[in-house]
């Protein structure tokens, strides 16, 4: 049954987000700390357990995979509701900061991913 997969996904998301909120409160932070990441780890663990015990039915997989496939359309919808106008009208300081920060971060990604590759391969 596909709904079992979607319900499992919902359960993992709810527990993860709740734990993220709890972590935020414990750290006195006004934000969810890693809720989505915790939920993802729960789902990975659930999948391993289901596969091991032979409960990973095609229907259940479909119930999760549909939402994974809807991910890009959802991101497109997210992009369509960004306040792009305000981002561009933030003035030269906002534009300069945005461009410089993204450029530096991309360079650091290049540096780190290359050095990491050299270590392991």
């Amino acid at each position: 049954m596909a709904i079992y997969g979607t319900a499992l996904l919902a359960l993992c998301t709810l527990i993860g987000v709740a734990l993220g909120e709890a972590l935020g409160m414990a750290l006195h932070v006004k934000a969810n700390v890693g809720g989505v990441g915790i939920a993802m780890m729960l789902l990975i663990a659930a999948r391993l357990w289901l596969a091991r015990t032979g409960r990973l039915t095609p229907g259940l997989k479909l119930g999760v995979e549909f939402w994974a496939l809807m991910y890009i359309p959802i991101v497109v919808a997210m992009a369509a509701q960004q306040n792009v106008l305000a981002a561009l009208e933030g003035g030269p300081m906002a534009v300069l900061t945005g461009v410089v920060v993204v450029a530096i971060c991309f360079c650091l990604v290049a540096l780190l991913s290359r050095s990491a590759g050299a270590h392991h391969d």
Binding site: A31, V36, M40, I44, V76, Q82, I104
Partner: protein, 253 residues
């Protein structure tokens, strides 16, 4: 006729959003195939087009939610909102290879720390060069360069002025938009073609929306790895910016 249209728009907003996004992605796939011969990913074109439409929506409505402020496209708010976005991101973890994820764990955490401290320092430094001298404004503007949520959270905690808050949010939104738009072009330069580099990217580039959009437009398979680290970005920023990082700025000015 118009009455029917109004009723459909009012009652079927989410369904309308599904149809609209589907149409946009279909057009993007055609543009990708016919105009660029597949060299530019259809998802990248769709995200760029969506950002352009969001800009246009802002112009014609004067609102803050891009195209979603146009009544016919109000359903985009639910479809692309944080709830379904996080739900779908978690779903992508179903295909994650746990061994790959664990291998990059420590490096991902290091990237996450760099991704908070470096943008903060750059943001505060540029704010300084633009004439800001008080620690609260500098920290708020630096925090905005981390993500557009860390900015206002820090500003509210420190009691920053409203124009500084607005500027801080604008910086963060612009960063997310830039990451979404430029990741596919910079993917080869960043070596963004394996789970390990995707996790580093998620930690450094920050903002779930930017990373999610950027990776979706580059290679769908990398999305869960980037999201795994990016999800801690805002939390870590909200933790460090109003506390440790603010105190450092205060000690410096």
């Amino acid at each position: 006729m118009i009455e029917i249209a109004h009723k459909v728009i009012a009652d079927q907003s989410l369904v309308l959003a599904f149809a609209a996004v589907g149409a946009l992605m279909w057009i993007s796939a055609m543009v990708s195939r016919l105009l660029f011969r597949g060299r530019i990913h259809a998802s990248a074109i769709a995200i760029m087009a969506a950002l352009a439409l969001a800009w246009y929506g802002g112009i014609i409505t004067g609102g803050k939610k891009g195209l979603a402020d146009v009544p016919a496209f109000a359903g985009l708010l639910l479809m692309g909102g944080a709830m379904l976005r996080d739900f779908a991101i978690v779903a992508t973890a179903f295909e994650v290879d746990p061994i790959e994820a664990r291998k990059a764990g420590l490096l991902g955490a290091f990237a996450l720390l760099l991704g908070t401290v470096v943008p903060f320092a750059v943001g505060a430094g540029i704010a300084w060069s633009f004439g800001y001298r008080d620690a609260v404004s500098l920290a708020t503007l630096g925090a905005g360069a981390v993500t557009y949520i860390v900015g206002p959270v820090t500003g509210a905690a420190l009691g920053a002025s409203s124009p500084v808050m607005a500027l801080s949010i604008a910086t963060g939104v612009l960063k997310a938009v830039l990451v979404m738009a430029t990741t596919p072009m910079a993917a080869r330069f960043m070596g963004l073609n394996n789970p390990r580099s995707a996790m580093i990217f998620g930690g450094l580039a920050g903002t779930v929306s930017g990373v999610a959009g950027g990776l979706a437009a580059t290679d769908e398979k990398l999305v869960p790895y980037g999201a795994l680290t990016a999800t801690f970005h805002t939390g870590l920023g909200c933790l460090l910016a109003p506390s440790v990082l603010f105190l450092i700025v205060k000690a410096l000015v």
